[in-house]
Symmetry: C2
Subunit: 195 residues, 2 copies
């Protein structure tokens, strides 16, 4: 998605070979018009797949996922990283290891909100090691529902998450695929996809 | 907002006199079409106020705030509850006490994302004791920017947050004001506002 790649180059900041800061438009400050276009792009790609729910993980995934769910006309389901006091019923859980924070988090989805009949599109802001997305697919599978695909805003293609998910048979659609961030410079994977 | 009140009655669940569960459409599962209408309602009320930014707190505030920012055509700023590794620069912070969780959280906003010239609309999903909203106004004031108003999806009008914020001179607009939740039943404040 050309507009997203432009934003990454112009407003992103490479903090190290592995860490890209995009807090001007994606997670801390969010560009709602860009999120709308991201949502339209994901929705257009999955419009004829019979999606019944969009699933994401709080909190940076919410903005692109909400716009995608809006465009598809289906509910958004937000997996929680902490079990809220109001979530007293049975839950599906999965463990997600964050390499950035070097800690394991448990994520939760109420069992009553995922049904065997659901066909779920997973959306997240970043794909690096694939642990968060894998945890979300795990939760969908526990419910007996099916995963239609995984939509990623920014894939760090030099890390192994994309390969891990694709090798398990998941359709992964990334709007921007970064090949490297050496010397403080973002290089995208050279391919003409999803523009 | 009549459609929201209908949703609360039909899909909300009163867990106690103080706790309302709305995880079918507002926080765990989110109704994007309802969020769009909520965003339009806030945007219409503040459209001529010269808003430059919408500010919310992760993560349940993001959905209504994103749609409001989209409608106003301004960026959304999401105050963080944990300082992410990518947030290395100077931050404004405020302490927010949660009566529900009985714990104090520190919230963060990057100093580079709030300017003295900003005129900020604060959006949050719930207003009970007003501590989260107050923390957000505190952060806006630290930056020298001004608070245009506070938009709340659901106000528990039987708790003192609304009065606290209004007594400090803030314009508070709540789309649904709950007078009581006694006997497992939601009673709204009887007033004809913002419908």
């Amino acid at each position: 998605m050309r507009e997203l790649m432009k934003k990454i180059v112009e407003e992103g900041k490479v903090l190290s070979e592995h860490v890209l800061k995009v807090d001007r438009f994606l997670n801390h400050q969010v560009d709602p018009q860009l999120m709308k276009k991201i949502g339209e792009t994901f929705a257009n790609a999955f419009r004829h797949e019979g999606i019944t729910k969009v699933l994401t993980l709080e909190s940076s995934g919410i903005s692109p996922a909400l716009m995608t769910a809006y465009e598809l006309g289906v509910p958004l389901l937000v997996a929680r990283k902490r079990k809220p006091v109001t979530l007293s019923e049975d839950v599906y859980t999965a463990k997600v290891y964050s390499f950035t924070k070097q800690e394991e988090t448990e994520i939760f989805v109420s069992q009553s909100l995922l049904r065997r009949q659901d066909h779920v599109l997973i959306i997240d802001d970043f794909l690096a090691n694939g642990q968060a997305a894998l945890g979300l697919t795990n939760i969908v599978q526990q419910s007996g529902a099916s995963v239609a695909g995984i939509g990623i805003v920014i894939e760090k293609a030099f890390q192994d998450g994309g390969q891990l998910l694709r090798s398990r048979g998941f359709r992964v659609m990334s709007l921007a695929r970064i090949a490297s961030m050496r010397d403080g410079k973002v290089q995208f994977v050279k391919e003409v996809m999803y523009q």
